[in-house]
């Protein structure tokens, strides 16, 4: 018998700091809000974008795992989140640009309560924050959704993958699932204010494993390279 009282990782933070914390854990209220939001997004993607998902069987049966993909619009994270079901959906966190999504109180609340996003600060993420993300992935058995290009593509072409992904999974048994989303750039290019209804196809590839890669620069670079190749292989 294991008695273990584990307070929330975000206990003692002020409300605003809690929203922006990498340790934020969802309670019953957040769970309900996210459930409603997820179902709305699923309905929207099915009706407005006729979303087709290929290779759903490649998703690991249970968390933890990491979903990665090409990044060309705000629809990407919503689409990847929408294919998760059950425990994976409840524990799915989108890693989102802090400067964009967590700048104001209202946008932070939306990102936290609806999308269930965790902030990553471009070029300013501290070692401690990265370690929190890395530890939580395994300890809390989470699903991360992230875009290793680091930013949305301006022309729809995929850019080179950054090494951040490697710092989360190198040397761990956590599988990385490559995805390619087709049609998102056309549906919602970065310069448009609103998306327009056009078809989306999501291809999910076979999981990659990086337990053998060292958690250092060489390992991170290898992970970035292999992941990028796996995503590119899904382009038709």
């Amino acid at each position: 018998m294991k008695w273990e009282l584990r307070p929330a990782r975000d206990l003692g933070l002020s409300p605003m700091d809690r929203l922006r914390s990498q340790g934020r854990e969802a309670g019953l209220g957040s769970l309900a809000a996210q459930g409603v939001w997820r179902r709305m997004v699923r309905g929207y993607l099915a009706v407005a974008h006729r979303l087709v998902v290929e290779g759903r069987e490649n998703l690991p049966p249970a968390p933890p795992y990491v979903l990665i993909g090409n990044h060309s619009s705000h629809l990407d994270a919503l689409t990847l989140c929408s294919v998760l079901r059950g425990a994976a959906a409840r524990r799915g966190y989108a890693l989102a640009a802090g400067d964009f999504f967590f700048s104001s109180g209202a946008s932070s609340a939306f990102a936290a309560y609806a999308v269930n996003a965790l902030p990553v600060w471009r070029r300013r993420t501290t070692r401690k924050e990265l370690n929190t993300l890395r530890d939580r992935l395994v300890e809390d058995s989470l699903v991360y959704i992230l875009f290793p290009e680091g930013t949305r593509s301006r022309d729809g072409e995929m850019a080179k993958f950054q090494m951040g992904l490697g710092t989360l999974v190198a040397g761990t048994p956590v599988p990385v699932v490559p995805c390619y989303l087709e049609g998102a750039h056309k549906a919602w290019p970065p310069d448009a204010r609103f998306p327009k209804p056009s078809p989306l196809v999501l291809r999910i590839g076979k999981p990659l494993h990086f337990a053998g890669q060292p958690n250092e620069k060489a390992g991170w670079a290898a992970i970035a390279e292999q992941s990028e190749a796996a995503v590119r292989a899904l382009i038709r």
């Binding site: 294991k2 009282l5 409300p15 854990e25 019953l28």
Partner: protein
């Protein structure tokens, strides 16, 4: 008349809310204390007797009271339904903090069952259905015990059921007694007296402890509490409750002075035990405060811990002596 407190005769509204002289006295006194505290801080600030850090801390605390007091007194003055609604909300807020501090929030199903229990027990109070109200304690105990069995996850079973049962006892079954008292037509001065006496109990323990405290009471549980503080609070609160409750209980079985002194002892002892109970919980978890919503106070639970045990203890004492809350009409909603 036995069984109820003095029934208000004024028409519903502002006049009825403030009809009882004890209600008027308590509201004037609390507002007076808040205004006096603000003036003292202002005077200290203008004469440069306090540094900026302490000044900020004092204003934060006073400001928090300025927000809290209307939220506490307002619903009680407004009426029965408002009082029960406020107690429900308080129970849910306390549950949220407790869930996050103990880790029970990760058990979504059980956390939901306890929240449902809090809603149900307050609904029974709103309905004025005593049978259902008291039945919910054992029934919720059973529901909490069986809820996670179908998940086929025996590891951690005793811990999560223990945490959930404790939560329902404190924030559901226990706290809801405060709202149930509002089923007595003359509840206003009584509930206001409990709210203020419990707060005064804390202040008295703090003050007597600072002035005369030498021997620590339970140093491992709560290093700042002293025997002198506890005795000082016991004396002050007992006398205050016995004195102020005189006009409230006039004409009821609670009228004799010795019974009102017993009531005062119950309020003070249960209040201090509630405080020590939360201290034990926090020590065991290794945390200082349960939350951050009330600047200078910590979480909602840090402020309202004393009420958790006072509410059921006082209610059942008064029900035993004078049948509080027994007079009709009953089952207002379920008919």
């Amino acid at each position: 008349m036995n069984g109820t407190l003095a029934i208000p005769t004024a028409p519903p509204g502002f006049g009825r809310a403030f009809e009882h002289p004890v209600t008027q006295g308590i509201v004037i006194a609390t507002v007076g204390v808040l205004v006096a505290a603000s003036l003292i801080i202002l005077a200290l600030q203008l004469t440069h007797r306090i540094g900026p850090a302490l000044r900020k801390e004092l204003w934060l605390r006073t400001g928090a009271w300025g927000v809290l007091l209307p939220l506490m007194l307002g619903p009680v003055l407004a009426g029965r339904e408002w009082t029960i609604a406020a107690v429900t909300l308080l129970g849910i807020f306390c549950l949220r903090e407790y869930d996050r501090a103990t880790g029970l929030f990760r058990e979504y199903l059980l956390a939901g069952v306890v929240a449902l229990g809090i809603l149900l027990v307050n609904f029974a109070a709103l309905d004025h259905w005593y049978g259902f109200y008291v039945a919910l304690w054992p029934l919720m105990g059973v529901l909490i015990a069986v809820a996670t069995i179908p998940q086929d996850r025996p590891e951690g079973y005793i811990q999560r059921v223990g945490l959930a049962t404790f939560a329902f006892m404190l924030f559901g079954a226990g706290l809801a007694h405060l709202g149930y008292m509002a089923n007595d037509p003359g509840y206003r001065p009584l509930v206001l007296l409990l709210l203020t006496a419990v707060a005064l109990n804390d202040v008295a323990a703090f003050t007597f402890g600072k002035l005369f405290g030498r021997r620590k009471m339970l140093p491992a549980t709560s290093p700042n509490k002293t025997i002198a503080g506890a005795l000082g609070a016991l004396t002050t609160t007992t006398l205050l409750v016995a004195f102020v409750s005189g006009p409230i209980f006039a004409g009821t079985a609670m009228e004799p002075l010795w019974l009102r002194l017993v009531l005062g002892v119950i309020v003070s002892v249960a209040g201090q035990l509630g405080d020590l109970m939360l201290s034990s919980i926090k020590r065991d978890l290794g945390i200082k405060d349960m939350g951050t919503v009330l600047p200078g106070h910590g979480g909602v639970l840090d402020r309202f811990n004393s009420l958790l045990l006072v509410s059921p203890a006082v209610f059942h004492f008064l029900r035993w002596i004078m049948d509080l809350g027994a007079a009709g009409p009953h089952r207002l909603i379920t008919g």
